[in-house]
Subunit: 537 residues, 2 copies
């Protein structure tokens, strides 16, 4: 793990939190650009402000060496990184911390923790990078409806962070669950391989967390979810080991991997998996296309993805999203199109995609960029800006919270025939909710992933909070969004998982009979129900 | 359903069974080409030869209108279309027929049959097109280890064969489970749409059967299994309805659709589903490439699929398979490459693929063919021959059985790193087994599907049978193949399903904990265990 200190209350590295000058600047941008009233600079907390309940259970002798009751550790394992979490962190409110944190170094360690916890009626919350935005790693699980436990352990997987095996012929690797994006990348690069799965939380989230949540990467089409990469999974459940066979594909009964994918720590602890990896792309082609009308941009996006082409990127930003990301400020909607290949030139693909865009009145912004291998030609303007804002974006949420601004995102997916209705309904309902509870608000949209039969739209909203009741305000806005999604028949989450936050809508989404079946599976995998109680089920 | 009479004992239409002259011709080809001893013309059975046990249970009054105890119906619902089934059919051996056949016309009919069967302790075997090659629709289930039943009903879904809804914007359709390939195609063609999923059993197998077995279509890459097309599923279980939400993608918990896919009639009866469909391709490009060495052909295939290109077809035939299909006789291995798109020219894709083939000493056979829309330029020789033999092929098995030749296929998938070992092991072990039990034998290989991380090889074997003990002989050969597959760590089935035949190897393949979980699901979906006892679980 990196030595650089991470924020105990917010996203990312502590040193990235801007000084007062920087915060004031962002504050005036927000007031100017979004038309909010003056914002106030709130003081960030220090770890000394945090008061933690003493541990109710102690690590047993046999596990002591891999466990910690350190204050900072317990604090940083109390929440994930949702807006709600950052607000509570900012308030130094860590009312329900884990009693201790365990750091297994092997599948055997995991087994021993689960055995002990099952015997001792202690809940176990698997923790990857802790970047969950849906309450997935929250340790407030001991007093819930989900059972009564004597305590709760956060099981941090990040000491299991190695690439164990590489199969260059098949382009696959066996990787431990606790490897974060950069850890995994640096080990694969030694073999000239790369993973090509970059969720926006890439810097801190883990391979196992991606599998447990069915994370969405940066590819816009074809390889969207981590699901599309996984060959086999090893998962340790209280009732035993779950090891699937490593295969490129199979038709033997319902997919066992599909049970581990999306299990969110409720069925077992994922310890390692075989995954497809890629040669680093040699050829890349990309371009930005501007559209005056959002409808035309949507139509062009749909035509491209239905044409049979498979762009690595096909990211549509509506005019507000483009502005928010500093891409353009002239009211254009922007479509970023990119192709990549380790082997064949990608120019023909881009040309065919641009032809479609032109049919829908898309205007090429700048020249298309074609890169061959080590040629380090400068990135196209918009694409470059977009990418840096992609990884910097999350830090803004910390600052927004410190300015008393509600700043969050939500995402979904629906078939094309429903998209107009969904989009209108979301924009209207979320705006109304922001207006009602905050007096004002801003909402923008981008497509993170696109399928031949529908897009995965992703919304960002910003609203001035009444400090002290941010969570109630957020709750109303989030509910307005979730209700709109459910009513139109979209999904409550395309890639942010269910956790605790999305559960009411998840219950409405999947068949009751399936939930019953899953509950049965849970009981047979985890007879004492110690694994992540309250998540999913 | 078509009025043209289907064979009661073998594959397809009865009138396709060749006369004695035709059979003699095929016989001499077999003896000449494969070096088998003289073959004998056995007489095919007539329905009069068949003796059926009288029904042990009668359809209840309320269901009588949709049920039949007709002899032909009961006979044709006793088996699927595996080699074993055709041999038993040819012998007029239908010892364990269903007591009656039910033909539901709605989800409600299905529910009523399941209610009645659960109350009356009668087993229900869901039946699509009855093309299972793994004992999936066999009605010999009442005396098994799987429970004791008073009788067994075959539930034939083919009266539910309509396309119920079409969403042209999203390119999707809602289709009833009992639609066969041609039924579904003719209804979609009215909307200028097509399904682009052609298993070799296409003419007779059904949409619901494809979902229940995770069938593999003709696309070699990208859209290989029916899984890749399904948006949502409706399944009726004895415990209730299972209806998933129609979505292009979701990350909300483990996929509910993935539980229906591959459920093989053991968890519920699939009544309808939303599936992605396609505009009919406008652009098509294809070529045949010949390779002197199999290894080079394999390597080229791998490079193409790892390049990022997504050919609609990428079918590698080894030299024996090419000969068997009448494609070439000069010992070349043949790679058929094809691209298609509804929207963009496919020439650039083919060119890039052919460039890769040339690097591995592939020689273009004839000119590449590029088709735009209604241009009906003649098919390339090899491709055309291959396609017609694709749908005619299955009929050969009937004839082979009538000549006392064992003729069967099996298929698997493995990662590239294991393919050489697997292939060698299979060729050796299956040849040895054929030699041992039949004195001679022929085996050939093709790739039906190819993934960036591995191929799905498909083997055809032919051996002279000792008439009367074909099944025992077949059993030894099949076991040799399955053991080789299991030992190398490949899958027991890439797309032929598990059924009853593959169960011993399936048990070895998937995690024991998963099987336990699936058993729990089964018990909650089907408390009386009436659905397809003995399949999968
Ligand atoms: C700024 C930001 C950007 C984000 N961008 C994206 C994005 O682009 N795409 C996306 O999909 N998500 C995104 N997310 C959400 C989050 O990063 C993903 O859900 C990610 O997959 C979580 O990984 P993690 O390792 O942090 O898991 P955690 O947050 O630690 O855990 C998530 C869930 O998985 C379980 N879990 C974790 N590890 C294991 C394991 N080894 N075995 C069993 N269960 C386990 C936990 O119990 C929990 O329920 C973002 C979040 C933030 C804060
Ligand atoms: C000559 C030949 C060629 C073949 N080629 C291919 C191929 O290219 N690709 C491929 O994947 N397979 C192939 N197969 C195998 C077979 O066609 C597939 O398994 C097919 O999907 C079965 O469909 P069906 O409608 O005939 O189902 P059936 O054979 O009737 O049933 C198969 C299984 O599914 C269950 N089932 C059927 N319908 C339903 C339903 N509505 N609800 C619940 N359960 C149901 C049955 O109980 C059974 O377990 C081939 C078979 C033959 C004989």
């Amino acid at each position: 793990m990196s030595k650089r200190e991470q924020s105990f209350w917010g996203w990312g590295y502590a040193d990235k939190f801007p000084d007062d000058e920087g915060r004031k600047n962002l504050g005036s941008q927000v007031t100017a650009m979004l038309g909010f009233d003056e914002v106030e600079l709130l003081e960030p907390p220090s770890l000394d402000d945090v008061e933690l309940r003493p541990p109710r259970v102690e690590p047993p002798e046999a596990l002591a060496a891999i466990c910690s009751t350190d204050k900072r550790e317990r604090t940083t394992h109390t929440y994930g990184k949702a807006y709600r979490d950052i607000v509570r962190g900012f308030r130094a409110d860590f009312g329900e911390p884990p009693d201790f944190v365990a750091y297994p170094t092997s599948a055997d360690d995991v087994r021993r923790v689960l055995d002990w916890a099952s015997d001792e009626e202690v809940a176990v919350v698997p923790f990857g990078g802790g970047t969950s935005v849906v309450g997935g790693v929250e340790t407030d699980v001991t007093n819930g409806a989900s059972g009564s436990f004597r305590g709760v352990v956060s099981l941090d997987m990040r000491c299991m962070d190695r690439v164990l095996e590489v199969d260059k012929t098949s382009r696959a690797a066996r990787i431990q669950a606790g490897a974060t994006g950069p850890r995994l990348a640096e080990q694969l690069h030694e073999h000239d391989l790369s993973f090509r799965h970059y969720p926006q939380s890439y810097e801190f989230s883990t391979f196992g967390g991606w599998i447990a949540t069915r994370a969405g990467g940066h590819y816009a089409t074809r390889y969207t979810h981590i699901d599309d990469f996984i060959e086999s999974v090893q998962m340790i459940a209280p009732a035993g080991e779950f090891q699937t066979r490593r295969l490129p594909a199979s038709g033997a009964g319902p997919s066992p991997d599909a049970l581990a994918l999306g299990s969110e720590g409720a069925l077992g602890v994922i310890t390692e998996a075989w995954t497809r990896v890629h040669l680093r792309p040699r050829f890349r082609s990309k371009a930005s296309v501007h559209f005056a009308e959002f409808e035309d941009a949507v139509r062009a996006t749909r035509e491209v993805v239905q044409s049979g082409l498979a762009p690595a990127n096909l990211r549509l930003l509506d005019s507000r999203e483009a502005m928010l990301n500093g891409v353009v400020f002239d009211g254009s909607n922007v479509l970023l199109v990119a192709f990549e290949s380790p082997r064949v030139p990608t120019e023909p693909d881009l040309e065919r995609a641009l032809e479609i865009c032109r049919e829908f009145d898309g205007k090429l912004a700048g020249e298309p960029v074609h890169v061959d291998e080590h040629d380090k030609s400068p990135d196209s303007e918009a694409g470059g800006r977009w990418r840096s804002s992609f990884f910097e974006g999350p830090y803004l949420q910390n600052t927004m919270v410190s300015l008393g601004v509600i700043a969050d995102t939500f995402e979904t997916a629906c078939t094309w025939d429903r998209f107009d209705t969904l989009h209108r309904r979301i924009i209207t309902d979320v705006r109304d909710a922001m207006k009602r509870v905050c007096g004002a608000g801003f909402i923008s949209c981008r497509f993170t992933h696109v399928y031949p039969d529908g897009p995965a739209p992703y919304y960002t909203f910003l609203a001035p909070a009444k400090v002290g009741s941010e969570l109630e305000q957020w709750d109303e806005i989030k509910s307005a969004a979730a209700e709109a999604i459910a009513d139109v028949g979209a999904t409550i989450t395309h890639h942010h998982a269910v956790g605790r936050t999305h559960k009411p809508w998840y219950k409405r989404e999947v068949p009751e009979l399936f939930q019953r079946g899953l509950q049965q599976v849970k009981e047979s995998f985890d007879p004492k129900g110690v694994l992540n109680p309250g998540v999913l089920l």
